[in-house]
Symmetry: C2
Subunit: 220 residues, 2 copies
């Protein structure tokens, strides 16, 4: 059966099905043949709509990133930063299995550039010098990606020991795992607040030599 009366595939449909498989079976669980089967189609058919698996994954990732909120800088840099970071993390938390793919580097130039611009612009507008705005943006990204990677990415608790102080009564591992997510969420929030506190302190402090270098911003 060649060309069907009504098209069987669409980019959106392919993306949705791919993400479903990734969510269910992990990043390695997605193969072009399996994806095609899920869509009731043969594998090469996909290549009519996406030139490559990489492109498809880029698109899936971009779709996820659409939910990141970079608009709150109108309420001040602190609010803007917190909103951005939290929504960023939340977006990744919804689809943890895609995080390892993000480690390969960003594909979609356009959208990510637009976001970066909004963030940078927001920080500069709030009084941070451009150079520091750059570093703040990068730092926050590090935190989100690192948290996503460290916590979601794959199955087991790594630092078992580390959690024991918090739940000393739990010796059974599955309960421990169950709470590990909460620990990660708390740790991320903790890191974010400490970082922002550090920033706030820097705002009210004259530039030190030997610090992270560069002038401190005027109070915004």
């Amino acid at each position: 059966m060649p060309r069907p009366t009504t098209p069987l595939l669409s980019q959106a449909g392919i993306r949705a099905s791919a993400l479903e498989i990734i969510d269910r079976e992990g990043l390695d669980g997605l193969s072009m043949r399996k994806l095609a089967a899920a869509l009731g189609v043969s594998a090469p058919a996909l290549y009519f709509h996406y030139p490559t698996k990489e492109h498809l994954l880029d698109d899936v990732a971009s779709e996820i990133m659409e939910k990141v909120d970079v608009t709150a800088f109108t309420h001040g840099w602190r609010e803007g930063l917190l909103t951005w970071a939290r929504s960023y993390r939340a977006a990744l938390a919804e689809h943890p299995n895609i995080v390892p793919f993000l480690a390969r580097g960003p594909g979609q130039r356009d959208a990510s550039l637009r976001r970066a611009d909004a963030i940078h612009g927001g920080l500069v507008a709030a009084g941070w010098p451009p150079r520091e705005a750059t570093m703040i943006g990068a730092s926050t990204k590090y935190l989100v990606l690192g948290a996503a990677m460290g916590s979601f990415s794959r199955g087991f608790v790594d630092d078992v020991q580390v959690y024991l102080d918090r739940y000393p009564s739990l010796a059974d591992a599955h309960r421990l795992r169950e709470h590990a997510d909460a620990v990660d969420r708390d740790s991320f929030e903790f890191a974010l607040l400490m970082f922002v506190d550090g920033l706030a302190a820097r705002l009210g402090r004259p530039p030190e030599s030997g610090g992270a270098s560069g002038p401190a911003p005027r109070r915004g």
Copy 2:
């Protein structure tokens, strides 16, 4: 030619060659056949020394992690944390291509547990309550991994715009890429210092309700 007079392979040799390929051609550039060829041997021969590619990579990653310094907590939590974070990042920076593999989760339980224990113990000994020590450890790891992921992990500058403020004279991309590493290094250092500053401030502050929750530590 079966069993040679002197063994052609050793775990250390395999690891070294694997890491060389990864450094040169990226994580995807490493295949068992290619690795075997580089060692002058057929692919299945490797399976006599390593049960699986995953195990091999785990071992390679562990070797890299050996260089991380978690001993400086004897000079105070600040010094310990900074030394740990910087040596961690430096270790990853030497072999950026392996970072995506780390996103799959830690393999070697043993060594990583020992490290986690040293860090947690160091923080607690310095006066941080266990729960906060956990979060500090996790946070720092986030920062390092996120920085490693965001910056090294493959090929092009993502947020071109973001760097322009710093090097406004550079319109050519390769020069820009060249300096991106410096920006990343600076951003990491910046993030680390802001975070530690935030921590220090917390040490001198009474516990707030509505903060990251949990009691603040006594002054150590």
